[in-house]
Symmetry: C2
Subunit: 219 residues, 2 copies
Amino acid sequence: MTHPVIKDLTRRYATKRYDATRRIAPRDMEVIKEALRLTPSSVNSQPWKFIIIESDEAKQRLHATFARKFQMNQKHALEASHIILFAYNPCFTRENYKRVVDVEVASGHLPADKYDEMMDKGFFFAQMNMDETGCNGHWTRAQTYLALGNALHTAARLGIDATPMEGVDKDLIGEVFRKELGGYVCEVALALGYHLEGQDYNQGLPKARLPLEDVVTVI
Amino acid sequence: MTHPVIKDLTRRYATKRYDATRRIAPRDMEVIKEALRLTPSSVNSQPWKFIIIESDEAKQRLHATFARKFQMNQKHALEASHIILFAYNPCFTRENYKRVVDVEVASGHLPADKYDEMMDKGFFFAQMNMDETGCNGHWTRAQTYLALGNALHTAARLGIDATPMEGVDKDLIGEVFRKELGGYVCEVALALGYHLEGQDYNQGLPKARLPLEDVVTVI
């Protein structure tokens, strides 16, 4: 299939080695940031923070979080152009949702007289997803994957290489980036940059997806 | 920002009323199906099934699943061009992962002598995400949101309207589509089509996202 969407999604792959001399242009980073912000989420909850590791100092801090595990990803901390920590709110509250509905009204999206209705109908989904602890982190975590899917598609369109990484030490990240996370939890990160020519074993290999009939059923 | 990525993501919105006379062209549906298949996932697990509701008969079955709740979405079942049920494997097993690694080798992506290494290193992530029941449905559900993010971006590029819906009755869907789901669980669906001109209150409204500084931190 030669459609641009399919070309982009076929060309993208999980980069295993980055060119430490190449940096993403600021104008592309602006697109990525705005694309993250524009990601849709359940009842527009936006229960996320995206911490973008850009400076050498922040990269050293991230590098240190691989001390105990997932060392296969450690080099990306220093060699990739940027790494984005995708963090979710482990306990999305009515107060958090109020902030969203405030913006709904301020932006002109929601008429002010629908405020209470949106609070009730929207927050219902946050409540429906509460677990035995009274929190809804499984639900908010899933929303960050929606942002991850959007970011990966965006990077592919921009010709930027990427590596989604569940192989991050959430506990050490929680300690080292405590201030930036503000109580949010990072269990997945995205390295971005450009692969190191000839040194990335994963580059240019055929895709290994299950056949269409295994995953898609049209009825 | 006038970048095509931002234009697409700004124009897309949760459609609230579909034009029942407009259908997505088969060539666009082929792009959507292939885009779903190409979605990346943790350790390439692909723990999903996408059930595409296309026929009138399947739409009637879906319509019936809104009998008890989420009636605000019921009309989409009949008026949207297509509805995709995103279903996850509630308990992703070593046997399931074997199927993936088989395809890794068969496709030429993975050298045959790395089979056992990929089985062990990859399945570690499925194990890491097992909960007290020994299952990992929270993890596989999150992967389907990655596919949802990819599908929403794809639909936006194709100029197709969409409505992500957590407002679906997972129990009734589980009963009515038991055969197609084969034990997988659907908690989110995506309506696709074209909005009904002048009848969709959500169309053309300003976006209501939190400000960039609330969700993005560059360090």
